[in-house]
Symmetry: C2
Subunit: 224 residues, 2 copies
Amino acid sequence: MQIPLARRILEANDEAAEELRKRFAEHRLPVVNLMGSPGAGKTSLVEETLRRTSGRLRIGVIEGDIATSLDADRIARFGAPVVQINTGGICHLDARMISEALESLDISALDILLIENVGNLVCPAQFDLGETYRVAVCSLPEGDDKVAKYPEIFSLVDAVVLNKLDLREHLRFDLSLFGRSLRELNPDADLMEVSCSTGDGCEKWIEWLEQRLEQVRGGDGASP
Amino acid sequence: MQIPLARRILEANDEAAEELRKRFAEHRLPVVNLMGSPGAGKTSLVEETLRRTSGRLRIGVIEGDIATSLDADRIARFGAPVVQINTGGICHLDARMISEALESLDISALDILLIENVGNLVCPAQFDLGETYRVAVCSLPEGDDKVAKYPEIFSLVDAVVLNKLDLREHLRFDLSLFGRSLRELNPDADLMEVSCSTGDGCEKWIEWLEQRLEQVRGGDGASP
């Protein structure tokens, strides 16, 4: 029973996601779906992005959480337009939730839209949000075996941001093993090693984001 | 559509879980469902448990993962009976999977059964495995806001093992805030601060486990 029902839900989501994708393309707006475990540093990466692009890029943020507005409160301090979605127990964002959130966001006034998904390395992979790019945020304390153990999410991302590099000397984490397992699974994914705590490496992430913006603006508006 | 369908799946799971619960009670076997984010240290806690109880307690392990047998391989080194479940993309263990795993485990020869759930701080909360006790494994690098942001799982656990205490001086983590938010949400949950890396605090976890064993053995065999 479970499989056909699940498929129907996913198909309905895919239709709503296609609508969103068209809308984002009309605005030539790059939309980035940030996915990762609880505490990987997704919100910290969004904060660092806002800090480094302030006055230069207009970035809007959709924050997805099971409960609380803790993350949106952190983002609002930067003056960026932000909408908090509380899923009320649901383990992922879906396209319908994004459509509703867009009622409170003027996307024509944005250069980039960042969507922070619910902290979960599994379920968000199955729900297309109409995004232009998918990014996994992973962190050193989670361990260097995560690509092998959670292949679905790492196989569909355009980039991986590996965070908390500042803890490197206190952990057993094999950076080359992590990079190798990602390349084997998903050779096209870019890998950026950063510390949102010290700021190290974050400039590569900002460059990556700016290149995506050029790609969407310079292209035909369709998703890549 | 989604809600009644989901309910039917959950009801079917609850029936299977009740069967398991009766079976565990007949054997007076404490069964602990370990839940937590990817990389929180669930497998490390199981390893530390086996190391400290070797020759004294007969502990069996069921390892739940999306993919790979990396965790079961780690456990097998200790000579403990272990069964790996690969969910193939499913974000949680369910009671049916446990029933199947028990075909490969002689539970009459065990003192304790540890079930390591899929790394996920959301979905495992909804699926009863017939366990006697539920434990959340959480770690300092995940941040001190996790109880507030993932209330469902923390509200139903009997204990929280807060791991990676050895990284404390390198992180901004407010231990008293974490403890306070747990007590407010779930006053009955025990909280143990440990480092599976240095072993610090792990003796409290072993004591907790031994007390649960006494409770189940001394009691009427029913779940508490």
